[in-house]
Symmetry: C2
Subunit: 370 residues, 2 copies
Amino acid sequence: MPLTPHFYPVILAGGSGTRFWPRSRRKMAKQVLNLDGDRSMIQQTVARLLPLSDPAKFWVITNDYLSAVIGRQLKGLPKRQIVSEPAARNTAPAIGLAAFILQRMDSNAVIGMFPADHVIKDEKAFRTVLSQGIKLAASGANMVVMGIAPTRPETGYGYIEAGEQLSDGLYRVRRFTEKPDQQRAQQFLSAGNYLWNGGIFVWSARTLVSAIREHLPKTAPLLEDIAGAWGTPKFRRVFKSVYPKCESISIDYAVLEPRSAKGEQASNLYCLRADFGWNDLGSWTALFEHRLANSPAAENSNVIEAKDNFVLNAAGNYIYSPKKFVAAVGVKDVVVVETDDALLITTREHSQDVGKVVKQLAERKLNKLI
Amino acid sequence: MPLTPHFYPVILAGGSGTRFWPRSRRKMAKQVLNLDGDRSMIQQTVARLLPLSDPAKFWVITNDYLSAVIGRQLKGLPKRQIVSEPAARNTAPAIGLAAFILQRMDSNAVIGMFPADHVIKDEKAFRTVLSQGIKLAASGANMVVMGIAPTRPETGYGYIEAGEQLSDGLYRVRRFTEKPDQQRAQQFLSAGNYLWNGGIFVWSARTLVSAIREHLPKTAPLLEDIAGAWGTPKFRRVFKSVYPKCESISIDYAVLEPRSAKGEQASNLYCLRADFGWNDLGSWTALFEHRLANSPAAENSNVIEAKDNFVLNAAGNYIYSPKKFVAAVGVKDVVVVETDDALLITTREHSQDVGKVVKQLAERKLNKLI
């Protein structure tokens, strides 16, 4: 697959990932953990994009807690393109800033926006779909959204309603939908033209800059000021003083939803139906299911990461204790995760509540554990 | 309570206690663990007997794995009376040897035999009953058994059927009963005259010596040879060469059951009904129940030994991870025990299967973990 010369992957890696506590911490968030295999989530994200772009074209937007470890994990990327936000402002200012900077550097720049912490099983299929998106974004004021073919009536994601079909796998976007309740999620799944919004977008820098100017008129000049300082000695100072004044809003709310309101034909919003084994690993339970589905020994219904282990009448458990001998006896559907200073014991059913532990730790000011 | 001058407590501390793995190991068996409070089980055993006997009169029968740690834990006891068996031969040779030695040292010696790893809540009541037993044992060829008032239809213990009542709490023994099935255990509980055999016996050295001679005619002369070498330089050598030739049999099977077959009147077997909050802590689940029953905050239905913890919708759990922050979220009735090299995850229902882990470790020759 040839490199696409004007394609710039921008990886958003500022998330705190409290749901993987106690492994995830402010300084060791989900995207830098080896949750699946021997590379971190962000290393896998970069690796699957490398066949499409030169390392020098990658950008990573992250925060002060994580920039050092990301720099160590992504040694091949230019250090100065691993950018630490002085304050978290959600995705619109982050990707918007990248667009303002890149537009000045390459007037034909096409930007792909990628979460740093998802897994994709079929990387080749991913790159095939993405290449289509890059071409489409390069050929006009088009905004391209990856629409992930749903496999279950998930209530935790936003959905994209696909409209007119233009070619195989390519649709106009009819509208974006908030997270549905169970009944609506089931309807979406049955309808067939609803796709998950996995947060992967492609557009030219020019298109995104003008969209930011249109939809975020107060934030656009701030981002322009910061972009103007890029590459000069005053950049850090300007970034630090100006960026926190930007609106804190997601690119979905700021740009994509208002744009879709212009109507399916006028919005220039396109959706590529993607079916490449995507998983956002939103919880320990999601990780368990992903690991089990990709296990060579699928009849073994436990996922145990340990020095060694013994299982007796135990099933459906996720256990992480990499330095120890683990014995699981008669236990079902639990999640146990051990680190040097903490031990989490929960169930597959309750693992989404782990964020509440972190909230509690913050309230009790147990900062070493966060 | 006055010291009873001819009373010698003999504590049997040779058990391997695999059911408290991973805390219990060959070199750190149940009796030397702090399972309940800040003293080990054997330290608690000695402490509750000290008001009745001088430290110089205590004997401990243990093994080479444990003698050093027991010596450190029981500094006040004479080192040479902490005796390491050269081979495990069950309780009859162990207590028999003590009887042969003590009979030579004090012809009026009364021996109490005590497991090293049980808890007793009401220590004063324990000593009151025991003092009665000592008097009875000192006054003739009587064998006195503690009969623990049962609190549930337990199938894991042997039972003593009490016969003729002689005074308040004192009965002749009608017979000893093997571990019953559930239905019989329920009948025993309803009948009212069945008591648990907790392995606490009192008799004079003279009575026990003659009983061993009668019921273990091959083993008695071996024990006599070893006792003859006690206090001489050749003791270790004789002990090591002769003791392994003794029959491996419990005092219950060897002496008490055959004796009871002589009939309730002729056997000279007596039973003291005891109700002092006894618990043999036979499993992690038994420890959980004991700890919960003795907790000042009984409405908290978890027992968590951790540096600090956070509980959210979790109940009925026993968790041991003393150096870590433990978070229990939505989990019910599990047992999790963490040590430096191992992590056990089981349930209250299955914790009696933990011995199978140790068996597996032995088969795999993972000796460091045993």
